[in-house]
């Protein structure tokens, strides 16, 4: 029913943009998963981030609109000031409810929602940041059979976020940037 079989969700906060700028150009046009990126940033409604990232990849990349359908090889950016949820049919819902971990979009919210729909067909990666957002979500992804990884805190611009996740939940992989790129490239 869902038009894509597997999903990758990447969550990041302070210091994450740079990694995405390195990762995205490496993905080839036939990359088969759908990808959602949830990035903390100053609340404003312009689409600067999506435009910036779209210039770094040959894959179709857009700021998520409500009811967008997850498609293979497509990348969706959670818009600022909305949480991003996934419906059972693989379509997206935007949600303007309370901030979670002082954040909207919140990484936890999307991780959890993705886990409910994709279960063991879900990959989540948590990047650099100074926030605890993402940890609870990873916990739930793991419980529901998904694969969880964090950026190597040694390499992260702000180590707190991936480090915090590692102390709370046993992650499947700790990825340096080179490893992360090959890991994501090889997902199929």
């Amino acid at each position: 029913m869902i038009p894509v079989s597997k999903l990758l969700v990447i969550g990041g906060s302070a210091g994450s943009l740079d990694i995405l700028m390195q990762l995205l150009p490496e993905l080839e046009a036939d990359w088969p998963l759908a990808m959602i990126i949830v990035l903390h940033r100053k609340s404003d409604s312009d689409m600067l981030l999506a435009r910036l990232l779209a210039g770094k990849t040959c894959l179709p990349l857009k700021e998520a609109d409500e009811k967008d359908l997850l498609l293979p090889g497509h990348i969706y950016i959670a818009p600022s000031d909305y949480h991003l949820l996934i419906e059972p049919d693989g379509s997206l819902t935007l949600d303007a409810s309370e901030k979670v971990n002082y954040s909207r979009p919140s990484i936890d919210v999307t991780f959890m929602s993705a886990a409910e729909v994709f279960g063991d067909r879900l990959y989540c990666i948590l990047l650099s940041g100074a926030n605890i957002d993402g940890t609870e979500g990873l916990k739930e992804v793991k419980e529901l059979g998904g694969f969880i990884a964090v950026q190597d805190p040694e390499e992260a611009e702000v180590a707190f976020m991936p480090k915090h996740a590692m102390t709370v939940v046993p992650v499947d992989k700790v990825l340096g940037i080179r490893e992360m790129i090959s890991f994501v490239k090889e997902l199929s």
Binding site: K67, P79, E87, T93, D95, S97, K139, E143, V169
Partner: protein, 276 residues
């Protein structure tokens, strides 16, 4: 690892059926992911030992139901939220409405009323409030009760004042409220022209004709069919050349009423009804 129990999709469906059959609240056309998340939150926070007990409480305790209704629907709002939107109202919509002898505005899904009071302030500043009525509706009686009081936390006023100024407000924002301990009570001069009433967009019909309908960040929680139904309700409730304003991520594009409207301020999601 102590893991909190998750509500199953089937349990959500059972609960939604209860709400519909017993109380007439129809959430079955709401975004499933959103409703599920809200219900899960209540279930976890209130530490129900089992789904059966949760269900029993909802079915047997009307006070709890009121609370649950407020929890399922999203009631996050602020005054002059998205200042650029209010600036657009000031510049492009209200000057047109000013030419009418009498102005009727419907604010649908108004929650605790912050945006409604913001609208009243705009009307007041353009000297239009005396000939305006704002119908502010929401599905929840409990949030309307808060809205009627016009009392908001004083701690928010700094942010609201900033929003107000960014929207083009020229006055001292504090002139509109009286501060009392932790609360700011907004002037009755503003609420005099607001009628707060319960209205359910899912089941209730149109109740008047308006020149402006504002409904922001409500449609995002509805599925496509319900969005379409509600947009028709709005369209039917608008006068010819009336305005419709939606939330930042909501659109008329690709809907069945799109051809009846033309965008006025595209970025701020304001349309005008150009045919019937």
């Amino acid at each position: 690892m102590d893991s909190l129990r998750h509500l199953k999709d089937e349990e959500i469906v059972i609960l939604l059926n209860d709400l519909l059959e017993q109380y007439g609240y129809d959430f079955t056309d709401y975004s499933f992911a959103s409703v599920k998340r809200r219900l899960q939150r209540v279930y976890t926070t209130d530490r129900f030992p089992s789904f059966a007990e949760f269900r029993y409480r909802v079915k047997s305790d009307p006070v709890y139901l009121t609370y649950l209704m407020e929890q399922i629907t999203v009631n996050v709002t602020e005054m002059f939220r998205d200042p650029a939107f209010f600036e657009a109202l000031r510049k492009h919509v209200l000057p047109v409405l000013a030419t009418y002898p009498f102005i009727r505005i419907w604010h649908a899904g108004c929650s605790t009323g912050e945006e409604v009071y913001s609208m009243a302030i705009l009307l007041h500043e353009m000297d239009l409030l005396h000939k305006s009525v704002i119908y502010a509706t929401d599905i929840n009686e409990s949030v309307l009760e808060k809205a009627r009081k016009g009392i908001f936390p004083l701690a928010h006023m700094q942010q609201y004042s900033q929003n107000y100024q960014q929207s083009g407000g020229q006055q001292e924002f504090s002139r509109y409220y009286a501060a009392n301990y932790e609360y700011a009570k907004f002037s009755e001069l503003l609420s005099e022209k607001i009628i707060f009433a319960a209205h359910n967009l899912v089941t209730d019909r149109s109740f008047n004709e308006f020149q402006l309908i504002v409904c922001r960040n409500v449609l995002i929680y509805f599925n496509k069919d319900l969005q379409d139904k509600v947009l028709h309700l709005f369209s039917d409730s608008l006068e010819q050349l009336g305005f419709m304003a939606l939330g930042a991520k909501e659109t008329l594009r690709f809907t069945s009423i799109a051809s009846l409207f033309k965008p006025i301020v595209q970025k701020e999601k304001i349309w005008r009804k150009i045919s019937t």
